[in-house]
């Protein structure tokens, strides 16, 4: 083809591009066009290798014509490229308006454990970190394990302190988790570090702050040289872990037949800070941890050598702790089977977005 034909051909190609480039609306298609036109096999690009076929005196001119054309086409494509980028940007901008990251997520269904269980597991984790094992025992106990093995003989006035549910068989519903002290001693021997969370039963009248069915956690530690200073240190540690801050305590004598000496560990009232309020009966202190050094009779019943070993034991009211933590004002809801007061509304009916949140906050 002569130079004239070449120019016509180039003009045709350019016109074709000019006509189509606006319809191309993706960067990929544009790159395809660029290759189809400017690539080595492309409509314009392939013309480059024909330059050498022209007479030497025309080659310079032809080369310029072809390269100029390539330059123009490149500019057109780039122009379109910029247009596409601008379009993408504005599409993103429009999308940004539509994108609402604050819309609720889709949650997998989730159940819940009972508030007492939640607190129980928390306590278990605390003690597991301290090297305690976690034991359990039956709720139907022998009179011996519930009383005699714990230094509470039949005639002991302390039996009145724990009014008992008796079974017709002569067994009892355990009045405390302490029988497991005896069981654990027989099972493991000394040294021993164990906690026993569990359900207990006492024959008493139910009201907003008393139920005949409640949870305790028993703690028992037996080793060589276990002392009252050890007991107090462990009590402080426990309360620190539960409250997540230092808690002021006071230690005073207490009486429980299965410990000697027996002590009561009171915690600075967390409601009033010690100034006195109805919760602490104006005393500024909350009875939280009855405890003591394990009575030698109890150690002996558990076949522990009292010359070599001493130990301490304590009891913690799990139910009361759960009520404090979750702000439950009426103990009766815990055994009512009614989900409303024992499950966060967030879990039961999906996230609560407005209004007064009931469960899960202090009431």
């Amino acid at each position: 083809m002569d130079v004239g034909q070449l120019k016509e051909r180039i003009a045709e190609i350019e016109a074709g591009i000019a006509a189509n480039v606006c319809d191309i609306d993706t960067a990929d298609a544009l790159r395809g066009l660029e290759t189809a036109v400017l690539g080595k096999q492309g409509t314009l690009g392939s013309l480059v290798k024909t330059i050498k076929d022209y007479p030497p005196d025309q080659r310079g001119h032809v080369g310029k014509v072809v390269n100029d054309a390539k330059g123009r086409v490149k500019a057109v494509i780039e122009q379109r490229h910029r247009e596409l980028e601008a379009a993408d940007a504005s599409a993103d901008a429009a999308d940004a308006e539509a994108f609402d990251p604050t819309l609720p997520g889709i949650r997998e269904p989730m159940g819940s454990v009972h508030p007492v269980t939640a607190v129980q597991w928390e306590i278990e984790r605390i003690f597991e970190r301290l090297g305690f094992t976690v034991e359990a025992g039956p709720e139907m106990e022998t009179e011996y394990n519930n009383f005699e093995a714990l230094n509470i003989p039949a005639t002991h006035p302390a039996r009145d302190m724990q009014d008992t549910f008796w079974l017709k068989s002569g067994m009892v519903l355990r009045t405390h988790t302490s029988p497991v002290q005896h069981r654990a001693m027989l099972k493991f021997g000394a040294p021993l570090r164990v906690i026993v969370p569990g359900r207990c039963f006492r024959y008493e009248t139910i009201d907003a702050s008393h139920d005949n069915t409640f949870h305790q956690v028993e703690g028992l530690m037996i080793d060589r040289g276990i002392s009252i200073p050890n007991l107090i240190a462990m009590a402080k540690t426990l309360l620190y872990e539960v409250m997540q801050h230092e808690v002021e305590i006071r230690v005073r004598p207490g009486y429980f037949p299965f410990v000697e000496p027996g002590i009561e560990i009171d915690m600075n009232c967390q409601i009033c800070g010690g100034a006195g309020c109805p919760t602490c009966k104006q005393s500024g202190w909350l009875e939280i941890l009855p405890a003591g050094m394990v009575h030698p009779n109890v150690l002996e019943a558990g076949k522990i050598d009292t010359e070599e070993f001493t130990g301490f034991a304590f009891g913690l009211g799990l139910t009361r702790l759960a009520m404090m933590k979750y702000g439950i004002g009426d103990i009766r809801v815990l055994n009512s089977g009614d989900l409303r007061p024992i499950v966060s509304p967030d879990r039961l009916g999906g996230p609560v977005i407005a209004g007064q949140v009931g469960s899960g906050t202090k009431r």
Binding site: L167, K168, I228, R250, P253, P261, L339, I342
Partner: protein, 800 residues
């Protein structure tokens, strides 16, 4: 117990600047919990004694009386009062015009019921005594009309000590014992207890009271004396006020005196009319015997009731209450005074069997010091002489003491003291701390020997640990520096059942939407009968919390159904899980099992299949996660012992052929019985027997592998009669063999018009591969033909 600080001051001179509230705290930290400290301040100014000259009822005001009072020096006034039981000649506490008390302010003269009422006869409660409203308090006859009553007579501080924290301290059930404790705490001197000397009551010329004790274990000591010259009289005003403040209503000098000694020394006493009782026997009640106590109630006795008798006739419930027939009357001037020591268990048994708890029984139950039995009589005479000018003893103080208290000496290893308290305690320090409490120390053979006084020796201090406690509390627990324990490392066998429980609860509440609830341990008979359920034989409570709550649950289900009925008001769909014990009657010992109950409920009658599949999926998921095993759900007939099981929709759960539970639905009749609205609900449940799950051996889950050559998936759908169980299909497919077949998986099932009624379409996915090469098209076609042929041979109809 209420403690009067004024009373305490008789025995220990309290520092003038003692802050009673700070004292309360100190006592709490050292001895026993103080529940409250309160000031008694009656603001009584200008009160005097007045004597009643006449009492006239007012016809227009039946509850009022006009009383003329002698105010001394020939002065009389008329006043109108609502006070009951006024008698001519009695003394009253009178507030003349211008006097004042906090309860009424300034006393004036006013017109009441048409009469001039000058001043006021003061009721006991306005003076700080626990008495009925309006009831007047009567000073004794020796008080002269016009005698001024100083304001401080009515003022005091009261300290309330928690009774429960005194359970083990019989010595603290009286003011003298509390005073001893206070003396030790503050390092003050304890004054001797004021009594008449024993010699004064031991005149050999006088006869003895014949006393015989049948069972010395039940009554280790009985002291008696006959006193004459004790006419009806009122106790001194100070004594009445003290008693009234600590919660005992003043009655008469005799009753007040015995009550006073009970609150003073802790020793209960009883007075018999000496005209009717001249000798004493202590013995067990006769079988079937009935006895009328002084409160007028006739009581059924048993041979374990300890009695006081005279000539074989019962005259008192020992240590609990006297009898009506021998009670001291107003006309009595001679009495037989009892002061005894009884076995705490016997008294406790009597009091609880007869449901008769008295101040006396509460003290005897604590195990009193037998020494106090005799001391109380010496004290009675000491105080009585001030009340009864002609008091004398007609008999000697008779002391029947067949079972003396053994003297206790406790050996204490000082090393054990240091080991428990965390620091060395020297003999000097221990001695200094313990001797004010009456515990005397000496040292021999590297041990301390602690002599325990009788008032601490009745069960309170008997072993080394008891002495260590005394030292520790005197050192002060707050003075003990906390120190973390040093421990010996050891291994504890895992408590697998407990671990399993926790795992199950965690799984169902987090991987699924079950909400944990906790129910009581017993069935509610009212609920069971509403459901028309007969629970069968159950382990039963002797003393249920209420009628109808006597059966311990054999299954978690009935009470979980109650929770369904409760929650259906608030939630259109919910799932409950409970973990707990159930009980089964068994010989010789009843059995306790641990169970997990699961219930899923949704509004709508047609949700049952969906709920069942989800429940099954949850159980399968848990068993797989925990044990790495599958669960077989085998159709079962309803068990008659579980009347809540659906007659046709019940399955037994098997893991490795071990039955581990049941799954079922609640039928419409039962749902309707639960609650009319639940008729239109779907409710499915499962109950897992954790004890049986515990015997399943866990298997580690196998993991997948990356195949060397690509796998090919091919789905097949086919139709089977609805009566053909999926499990049967699975079994058939299990017998198909092809070297390329790696796995067959369940994709879905479908019932509907397009497959025709009574038929079910199943879709399974086959996964093919070869470990040595990539499959080619012919492999697939070949397999398809073979597998379809097998399905057809099984009688399944292929779907296109």
């Amino acid at each position: 117990m209420l403690v009067s600080l004024k009373w305490i001051n008789d025995y220990v001179e309290l520092p003038a600047d003692l802050d009673p509230r700070a004292f309360g705290e100190r006592f709490t930290l050292t001895t026993a919990e103080v529940e409250g400290v309160s000031q008694v301040s009656m603001g009584a100014r200008g009160l005097i004694v007045a004597r009643i000259e006449s009492v006239v009822a007012l016809p227009d005001a039946p509850h009022l009386r006009h009383v003329v009072l002698n105010l001394g020096n020939g002065k009389t006034v008329g006043t109108v009062t609502a006070a009951p039981a006024l008698h001519v000649g009695s003394n009253v506490v009178y507030a003349p015009e211008g006097a004042s008390v906090a309860a009424f302010g300034k006393i004036t003269t006013a017109k009441v019921a048409g009469k001039t009422s000058a001043g006021m006869i003061l009721p006991g409660d306005a003076l700080g005594a626990a008495m009925a409203a309006q009831e007047a308090i009567f000073p004794p006859g020796v008080a002269e009309p016009g005698e001024e009553l100083p304001p401080e007579l009515f003022d005091d501080w009261l300290v309330e000590v928690d009774n429960k924290s005194l359970t083990h301290r019989p010595d603290l059930w009286g003011h003298y014992g509390i005073a001893r404790e206070i003396a030790a705490i503050y390092g003050l001197a304890l004054k001797p207890y004021p009594v008449v000397a024993l010699e004064e009551l031991s005149d050999e010329v006088l006869p003895e009271v014949p006393i015989s004790i049948a069972d010395p274990d039940a009554c280790p000591r009985y002291c008696g004396i006959v006193l004459e010259g004790v006419p009806a009289e009122c106790a001194p005003l100070w004594m009445q006020l003290r008693l009234g403040r600590v919660g005992m209503r003043p009655i008469s000098a005799l009753v007040d005196l015995t009550n006073y000694i009970m609150a003073d020394l802790g020793q209960p006493m009883h007075a018999f009319d000496a005209a009717k009782v001249d000798r004493i026997e202590v013995d067990w009640a006769k079988k079937g015997e009935r006895f009328k106590t002084l409160d007028g109630v006739e009581r059924q006795l048993s041979p374990t009731t300890l009695m006081i008798l005279r000539g074989g006739d019962s005259i008192a419930l020992a240590g609990v209450m006297g009898g009506l027939d021998t009670e001291v009357a107003d006309s009595t001037t001679t009495l037989l005074l009892e002061s005894a020591n009884f076995d705490p268990a016997a008294i406790r048994r009597t009091a609880s069997c007869l449901n008769l708890r008295t101040d006396a029984s509460a003290r005897f139950e604590k195990s009193l010091d037998p020494a106090h039995a005799r001391l109380a009589i010496q004290r009675f005479v000491y105080l009585g002489r001030d009340i009864y000018p002609s008091l004398s003893n007609r008999t000697r103080l008779s002391d029947c003491f067949p079972k003396p208290l053994e003297e206790i000496t406790v050996a204490v290893n000082p090393h054990h003291v240091a080991r428990t308290i965390g620091r060395e305690v020297s003999l000097e320090e221990a001695s200094q701390r313990l001797s004010p409490l009456g515990l005397e120390l000496s040292e021999a053979n590297a041990h301390w020997h602690v002599r325990v006084p009788s008032f601490r020796a009745t069960g309170d201090v008997s072993i080394e640990a008891d002495v260590i406690e005394e030292i520790a509390r005197c050192v002060g627990y707050d003075n003990i520096e906390p120190e973390m324990p040093r421990v010996s490392m050891r291994r504890f066998e895992l408590n697998a059942p407990r671990e399993l429980e926790r795992h199950a609860l965690e799984y169902f509440t987090t991987a699924h939407r079950y909400n944990e609830i906790q129910n009581y341990l017993w069935y509610d008979s009212t609920w069971l009968s509403q459901l028309g359920i007969d629970p069968g034989s159950c382990v039963e409570l002797k003393n249920p919390a209420a009628e109808g709550l006597h059966r311990l649950r054999r299954s978690l289900m009935p009470e979980m159904l109650a929770a369904v009925a409760r929650n259906r008001f608030y939630f259109p769909a919910f799932a409950l899980v409970e973990l707990g014990s159930v009980f089964e009657p068994h010989e010789p010992d009843d059995l306790e099992y641990r169970r997990i109950g699961l219930i899923s409920a949704r509004r709508g009658k047609r949700a049952e299949d969906d709920l069942y599949k989800r429940l099954k999926g949850a159980i399968e998921g848990w068993v797989f996660k925990r044990f790495g095993r599958g669960v077989d759900f085998v159709r079962a007939g309803a068990d008659a012992a579980r009347p809540w099981e659906h007659s046709s929709r019940t399955a037994q759960l098997l893991v490795e052929d071990t039955p581990v539970g049941r799954v079922s639905a609640i039928n419409r009749t039962l749902r309707r019985a639960m609650d009319e609205h639940l008729a239109a609900w779907s409710v499915v449940w499962a109950e897992l027997e954790l004890d049986k799950c515990g015997s399943i051996s866990a298997r580690t889950e196998g993991l997948g592998i990356i195949p060397a050559y690509p796998l090919v998936e091919m789905d097949f759908s086919f139709v089977v009669p609805a009566s053909t169980r999926y499990a049967d299909v699975v079994q058939e497919l299990g017998s198909f063999n092809n070297s390329l077949l790696k796995e067959v998986r369940y994709v879905g099932s479908y019932e509907g018009e397009s497959v025709g009624t009574g038929r079910r379409s199943l879709t399974v996915r086959t996964i093919l591969g070869d470990d040595t090469r990539t499959l080619v098209e012919e492999d697939g076609l070949g397999f398809r033909g073979e597998f379809e042929g097998y399905l057809t041979k099984c009688g399944y109809e292929l779907r296109k």
